[in-house]
């Protein structure tokens, strides 16, 4: 392959899955409508034709059973990739994820690992209301034993999966539903990414915008607007929600001395709260202004477009928060 190749986030995810299936016969996919239907977000479209029903396993609507089956298969040497349609549905498998996947290595005194990958669609913006739109990845980021990833760019959509499969621990990958259609080019020189570090996506010296998932897209848009006002925002992509790469966050805040955290999850008890507290603990004396958060409004996600837009963090909210820190009234 020579020059940059144009692709979509969805296609990047699919290529990651194809690679995994081609590279390791112990890898297989399991989930609802991932086979004949092609995946509810069409990520797995065509894979059943290429790899067959044994490795692209359509499951009944039994989240707990097939997630638990993924854990069991991982315990005995397989490398399953389980797909859950949306994070709201993952609650039906919460017992298996929290009580088994996250505990068995420790509870067994290190006799077993659970090398399982679970892909989960998350987030709002598609007008599908309160049972398909929430951002509960912050809950999972609370759980010791899990690694939580949030690919926000094409490169991560393409390559995080391989790194997740190489991890001997359970890894949850949260794909934001508003990202599947984004298009762009993949650098042919990049063939792998890490799943340990946050990454600065745009440099700036005036304020740090810390975001993940679709929040990154919005933070980057906000940074453009701020630049036009003469405010240089640094945008940090969390990428890994657990374990948090605190040093990268602290380094950015130490440079800019101001920080806005963007999180689609509800503010109370949020991942944004955790990040803010870590910065308060480790970079308090570097701050020139209070920490700020732009989070999802504390409501079940409404259907009506104007209400949903109002419930989600928007670039204008991020701009206002950042401006308020850099140029207080």
């Amino acid at each position: 392959m020579s020059g940059p190749a144009s692709t979509t986030y969805r296609e990047a995810c699919r290529q990651g899955l194809r690679d995994a299936l081609l590279n390791d016969p112990k890898t297989f996919l399991m989930g609802e409508d991932i086979g004949r239907y092609g995946g509810c977000y069409a990520v797995t479209k065509g894979l059943i034709d290429e790899f067959g029903e044994e490795r692209i396993r359509d499951t009944p609507l039994s989240e707990s059973a097939y997630v638990g089956a993924g854990i069991g298969a991982a315990l005995v040497g397989m490398r399953p990739i389980v797909e859950i349609m949306t994070v709201n549905f993952s609650l039906l498998a919460l017992d298996q994820i929290v009580n088994n996947a996250a505990t068995i290595p420790h509870m067994s005194g290190g006799q077993f690992a659970v090398p399982l990958v679970i892909r989960i669609a998350t987030g709002g913006g598609r007008r599908v209301a309160a049972q398909h739109s929430h951002s509960l990845e912050g809950w999972y980021a609370h759980i010791p034993g899990l690694r939580i990833l949030a690919p926000a760019v094409l490169e991560d959509a393409r390559f995080m999966l391989a790194a997740a499969l190489a991890d001997p621990n359970p890894v949850l990958i949260f794909e934001h539903v508003m990202l599947y259609n984004i298009e762009g080019e993949l650098d042919p020189a990049v063939a792998a990414v890490d799943i340990a570090r946050a990454k600065v996506r745009r440099e700036g010296g005036d304020v740090s915008l810390i975001a993940y998932g679709n929040g990154l897209t919005k933070a980057l848009a906000a940074a453009e607007t701020l630049a036009a006002e003469g405010i240089a925002a640094e945008v940090v992509d969390l990428r890994v929600l657990r374990p948090l790469d605190t040093p990268t966050l602290v380094a950015s805040v130490a440079k800019t001395r101001r920080c806005v955290i963007v999180d689609e999850g509800w503010k109370s008890g949020s991942l944004a709260a955790e990040i803010g507290m870590r910065i308060a603990e480790q970079a308090f004396f570097d701050l020139d202004a209070p920490l700020r958060r732009v989070c999802g409004r504390e409501v079940p996600m409404p259907y009506a477009a104007h209400l949903e837009d109002a419930a989600l963090p928007q670039p204008a909210d991020i701009v206002a928060a950042a401006r308020g820190l850099v140029r207080p009234a």
Partner: protein, 328 residues
């Protein structure tokens, strides 16, 4: 067709010995609990020994086992050493889970023993996955999954039964029906109290057997395992049994009558099998006493091992929360 159980002297002696080892091990656990050397929850298997002993006879070394928080019997019958079990109970790093699991979370990789699961019903999806993983890797194994009558209330039971039957996975589902889910009587919890009928709802072959009769359990388990190994998909056993003691050490047993317990005790798996063997001249009284003495001596050794065990340094607390690699 029925798999034969060879009731020769060695075998009947072995069955009796296994049940006595479990019963006496747990009696010692009660003493250690009262002495506050075992802490937390302690769920005793007293009365149900025939189930795990009978089922394990049908399994080979390559097969897998998943059990519940009441799993001392399964662990011992599966061949996990009493020394590492007792050390686990005492929270020592010489325990099978280095003191991280305790009574409810026994794991043993060599025995293919995947817990010790204290979420009612939580082990069933795992069993489906272990069977799936084994099958996909071409292993001709059976995964035995033990659970109680309470688990059949759970959605995970129904989801797992369906998935195992749908994919024809090599799982032996063993329901230890002791009539009470903690304090909830079966007939107060189930619209359909015939548990085998639930298996039939998933077109899974199943039988209900007398779980107080170790030979009946072994015979049924051998039949079922034979069918599973022949590629017939999952099988279901309902073993009707009874828990002689409290649910855990904190249970005042307000939900059942003392004479009910006494009536069941008379039908107990050890007293009954031992009596039958003696009556039929298959074992001698002094041989039984010797089995008991040997079990007690083994248990004393396990307690000594556990007492002499060491505490894992607190610095190791977070070890194994995440793994650096998949253990070989």
């Amino acid at each position: 067709m029925s798999a034969r159980v060879h009731l020769d002297h060695d075998h009947v002696r072995h069955l009796l010995r296994q049940m006595i080892r479990i019963r006496h091990f747990e009696s010692k656990c009660v003493e250690l609990y009262q002495a506050q050397k075992i802490l937390g929850f302690l769920h005793l298997y007293d009365g149900e020994e025939a189930v795990s002993v009978g089922v394990m006879e049908a399994l080979g070394a390559d097969d897998a086992v998943i059990a519940t928080y009441r799993e001392h019997g399964q662990a011992i019958a599966r061949g996990i050493g009493m020394d590492v079990l007792m050390a686990e109970m005492l929270g020592k790093q010489e325990g099978c889970c280095r003191g991280r699991g305790g009574s409810m979370h026994i794991f043993d990789k060599a025995a293919r023993f995947y817990g010790g699961n204290a979420i009612v019903g939580g082990g069933l999806p795992l069993a489906v996955g272990v069977a799936l993983g084994d099958k996909m890797q071409g292993r001709n194994t059976v995964t035995a999954c033990f659970f109680g009558d309470g688990a059949v209330d759970e959605g995970e039971f129904h989801e797992s039964m369906n998935l195992a039957a749908l994919w024809r996975l090599p799982v032996l589902f063993v329901c230890e029906n002791n009539l009470y889910a903690m304090g909830m009587a079966l007939e107060r919890a189930e619209a359909q109290t015939d548990i085998v009928a639930k298996a039939a709802g998933y077109r899974m072959p199943g039988v209900a057997i007398d779980g107080m009769d170790v030979v009946a359990v072994e015979r049924a388990a051998r039949d079922a395992v034979e069918q599973i190994r022949a590629g017939g998909g999952p099988q279901f056993l309902e073993c009707r049994t009874y828990r002689f003691r409290a649910h855990s050490m904190f249970d005042a047993q307000l939900y059942r009558a003392k004479d009910e317990i006494e009536a069941w005790r008379k039908k107990g798996p050890i007293v009954r099998f031992e009596g039958w063997l003696l009556t039929n001249g298959l074992i001698r009284e002094e041989e039984v006493r010797r089995i008991e003495a040997e079990a007690d001596s083994e248990i004393d050794g396990a307690v000594a091992f556990a007492e002499a065990g060491t505490l894992e340094p607190v610095e190791e607390l977070e070890r194994f929360v995440t793994m650096a690699e998949v253990p070989a």
